[in-house]
Every structure is written in C-alpha cells, then in structure tokens.
Symmetry: C2
Subunit: 339 residues, 2 copies
C-alpha cells in the first residue's frame, strides 16, 4: 500500500488523538479569545493549510462571528510593510511549521502584541516557537508529499476551537472520528468513480460556504496526485466569467451536500450541463452528478472534514491508474520554503 493510502486510512485515529490530546490547549486558547475579544483573525498558510484557512474563515465567522483576514505574506517578506494587527488574533497553519512566510506573519503578530497561535504537526518548528499557543496536530510523520491526514487534523483543530464552550457543538466534534471511519468505509476504493473519471484531462471543482475549502483542497489533490489541471471556484465566481470555458472538454466536480448551499449548487450544475459539461458530484443526492460519491451524514458545518475523503481517494485512484508515483508525484517536494 502507498504511504498516501495508509495516511488517508489513519485519519479517524489521527483526529481522535488530536481531540483528546489537545483539549487543554484549545480550551486555553478559547479562554484567551473570550478574555481579549479580538476584533478579527489573521491566518497565514500555504497549500493545503491555506485550504484549512479557508475553512477557518467560514467556521470562525459563522460560529465565533469573527471576520478572518487571509494574510498577504509578501507585505511582510518583500515590501517591509506589515499591516497593523491591533485587537487581532494571528494564526499560522503549517504542517511542517517551516515556511518562512507563514512564520514571518505570526512573528510580526507577536512583535505587535497580538494574540498568536500555531497549528502545526511539528511543535519544535520555527512556527511553534513564534506563537504563544501551539496546537500540535500530532498526526505522526506525514511521509506522502500530498497532505491528507494533516489537512483533516487541521480542520478538526479549527472546528474544536470554534466549538469550545458550546457543549452541543463540542459533542458534534467528538463524533468526527466515527464519521471519518464511516466515510472511509462508505467510499471504499472509489472504484466506480475512478473508472468514470479515468479520461479526465482537466477539471473544475465547485463548492460554496463551508465547502469552498473542500473545492480548493479537492482540486489541489487531483492536481498534485493525478496531474489533472484542476481548479476551484465558488458558483458565484464561476458564473462571473470563468464559466466561459465550461463544456464537454471541461468536466465539473460539484461539492454539493444537503444544506444551505444546495440550492445554488443545483443552479450551477444546471448551468454547467446546459453548456454540455459532464458533472460529477460529492454529496447526498445522486441526481446531482455521475459519478456520484455519497457523503455520510454529519452536521453541515463539519462536512468539509469528511467530504474531502472521497476526493482524496478519487485523486489517489486516478494517480495509480495513470502510473504516477503517488507518494512523490511530479517531482514535488514536501516542504516548500517560500518567502
């Protein structure tokens, strides 16, 4: 079995361990949030961690009512013009904790006296050293180049932070490891979807609300593992121009679970089909796509932590079908030291 498949299978255990071990850290951070009442959050991240940041933008906004700035590291590293972080919490998300640009944003937050936190798989990393609060993902070494278990662990950490102090929501988070296990069992090897998608050369992934993050992470997995040119949009952004290239040669993957986003996803699927595009879907209604990958039932706000699983398995399956070395595809390296 590839490392990627092994790490995908580890996700229920990784999330269960995280929720257990990091409870007191998350509780302390939530207490600081209540005490200092930041006006907004700044999140610095790259790659899959940036997609976790997209989830954080939704969930911290929705549950804590906290607006989230996705940081612009170049203002720190190239222009020497860091924004003022007054009444802010500054969070860095990085599997390795080694990205200089992510570290520089959190270090600047600390220098300005902001509340700071790191979400990382390496508690001895420069990112962890720069932050006052360190959430250790504790996912074990992630050896596959494509991030899988550290992505779901980051989502679980963010969800648990948002749920702190609300017993109902916290109980929902506690059930996440079981939901992940159920999703892995339900999706299996995703063989039918891999068969149906075998001819894809490019792909548009669409999602909204909570699943805007899922769309971006699904596109990134399909791209880095299978070498398919996959891109992500919200339905609104797609309709504002990029839908010009929809058609038979550009299949679409809709992240369309039941819930508040289903209506606009249905409209988008209809518009894409009108243009002749082939539509696949991850969700609850098989009428929305073919191939269709069914989701287990979880509270809608936690959906992204399980909805990425079918996309991961589809990406790995397509990569294997194409003879890609799934653990080190296309000469990518695990840590990208961008400034």
């Amino acid at each position: 079995m590839s490392l990627a498949r092994a790490e995908i299978a580890q996700q229920p255990d990784v999330v269960a361990r995280l929720l257990e071990r990091e409870r007191s850290t998350l509780r302390a951070l939530a207490a600081e949030l209540r005490r200092r009442r930041p006006r907004y959050a700044v999140i610095a991240a790259r790659g899959s961690s940036d997609n976790a940041a997209r989830y954080a933008q939704h969930v911290l906004g929705r549950i804590l009512r906290l607006p989230v700035v996705l940081a612009t590291p170049s203002l720190h590293t190239l222009y020497d013009a860091p924004p003022r972080f007054i009444d802010a919490i500054v969070i860095g998300v990085s599997q390795s904790g080694a990205s200089p640009d992510v570290v520089s944003v959190v270090a600047e937050g600390a220098r300005q006296g902001a509340l700071t936190a790191a979400i990382t798989n390496d508690p001895s990393s420069p990112l962890a050293a720069a932050a006052a609060h360190v959430v250790d993902l504790g996912a074990g070494e992630e050896r596959s180049v494509a991030a899988t278990k550290t992505y779901t662990a980051s989502l679980a950490a963010i969800a648990a932070l948002a749920a702190e102090g609300d017993p109902g929501l916290a109980a929902e988070v506690e059930r996440l490891p079981g939901a992940l296990a159920a999703q892995l069992a339900l999706t299996g090897a995703a063989g039918a979807a891999v068969d149906a998608a075998a001819g894809w050369e490019r792909l548009t992934v669409v999602g909204r609300g909570a699943h805007y993050a899922t769309a971006f992470e699904a596109a990134l997995k399909v791209r880095e593992l299978a070498g398919i040119v996959a891109e992500a949009f919200s339905p609104a952004d797609l309709l504002h121009g990029p839908i010009a290239t929809a058609g038979p040669a550009q299949p679409l993957l809709a992240i369309a679970p039941a819930g508040p986003t289903e209506g606009s996803m249905r409209e988008l699927v209809a518009a894409a089909r009108e243009r002749g595009a082939h539509v696949a879907a991850i969700g609850h209604d098989p009428a929305l796509g073919d191939p269709f990958m069914e989701l287990v039932d979880v509270p809608e706000w936690l959906g992204p932590a399980v909805a990425i699983v079918p996309a991961q398995l589809l990406a790995v399956g397509l990569a294997e079908r194409r003879g890609v070395d799934v653990d080190a595809p296309f000469g990518l390296s695990k840590i990208t030291l961008t400034r």
Copy 2:
C-alpha cells in the same frame, strides 16, 4: 471596432475624469478613516471587482497598514451568520452595484454601525444606496461583457484613496492617465504576442504582491474573452502543488515587473522552464518571457493599473483570432445576480 477595444482605449480618459470628479468624495472618506481609525477593512466584490479587491488588499495594507478581509457573502446570504464588524470599514466594489451578495455585506456593515463605502459605476444602484460614502467610477456605460475600463477605474479609485493625505503618492496617482496612454501606445495591437500565443489552449498566470491582482484579472480576461482555460496563482501557491501540471502543454504568463517581486518571479520562471513550460511575460526584462510585453515605467505600487492593459489587448486579440464575439463571448451576461 469592437466595444471591448473602444472601452480599453477609453481608459486614460476614464481614469483622468475619475480622479478629477471624485477628489472631494475620496478626501471625505479618507478624513473619516483618520477620524474613526478602523482596525481592518472588509471588501465584498465579485469577478473583476474581486480582483480590484485583491489590489486593495495589497495597497491598503502597504500604505494605510490596514489588514483587509475579503468578505464571505454566503455567511450573510445563506447561513444568516454575518460576522461582527466592530471597528471596521466595509467596502463594496461592483460595476453594476446590483449584486445582491455584495449589497448584503455592505448593508450589514451599515446595520452594525461600521463605516461603509461603495465603489461603483452606478451611483443610483442598490450598493450605492446601502453605503455612506459612494465613489462613482463615472466610466460611462460599459457595454462589453468583459470589464476593462471599470477595472482600471476601480484600481485608480483605490490607489487615490490610499494616497490621500500624502502629496508624494497623490502626485504619482495624478500621473496615472498619462501612464495608461503611454502603455496603450507601447503595446499597440499586441500583434506579435497574439501570434505567439495563438495556439494556447490553457494558461497559468503568475503574479505576486501588487501583481497578484494582475495575475487573476489577466487570467479572467483571457478566459472569458478567448475561451482559454486560464488560472492564476502566486509563485508560492503554485510551488505548493499546482506546479505538478506545468509542462509543454501548459504555458505560463509571468507578471514580472522590476521591483520587490522580481526575484521570486525569476525563480518561478526558472522552475517552470525546467519542467518544459513555455513562459510568456509582462514586465521590464525581455529575458523573462517570449512573447514579452513591455511595461512603461510607473511607481511599482501603481503598476497593476497599467500592467493589465497588455493582458486586455492580448485577450481581445486572441478572441478575435478565434472568431469569438468579443463583446458578448460564450453566452456570458454582464450582470450576474448571485446571492
């Protein structure tokens, strides 16, 4: 001549008129910013206006040191969970001023007592009605589906707002119409670039810092006008996975002017060439790409307002070459009423 070409040619006049007519509005808004000292800005926008918002994120951060949240309209329109906008300025950018999702974010800002502003080409629009300060782009009706003059006008309005109260920067903004005219003259019909790009079926556009916005807007123009599947990344984001699909079939357009971002753009160009990708460039050093489209000299922070011109002309030229109806390409409509 197509409407698109006519509107591209109007850009120097449109920007000159805007800077003249909206001076007092921008001055009043800048005075409010100094008086109320918001901790951060929220910007709601879609399509090309969202790319103007990306420029605002850079410039308001760099010059006013204001962190910028790019709004998540679905929290307002689908989830009934708007974030708290305390000590914020909330800005909507929309050519038509009619997008319900953009209006809803600004209206929520007003409801919560935040400072609000609209940047729109229709001062009688719902967006203008929702905002306390209205910057009227005054670009004249934009009849081509692809936004061109309203995009550069939005950038000029944002730059002028950032420069208010700094005579040196304000003088630089005043020279923008001349720079736009010079850029139009320098690029001409972009015939050599259109010839060289005639075979492109897909494209990756890369830019950083100030030109992160340029990369997204250039990709959108090429996509909606020429029907080429074009996508945009920062160098760092591209290196974190998506570069997996770089190669001979995926040309790259580098937005690489002289200045702070040139070093990381050079590294990116080298990495893409190593993978066999064909690299075109917009910038100052012809060695960076072929075809190469030269930029006139403007202060680096104002570069995006002129660097989009060669991309607009390339997109229109490619569309004409392909027999696309450039004023109403691919069944797109001018106003997209997404919620």
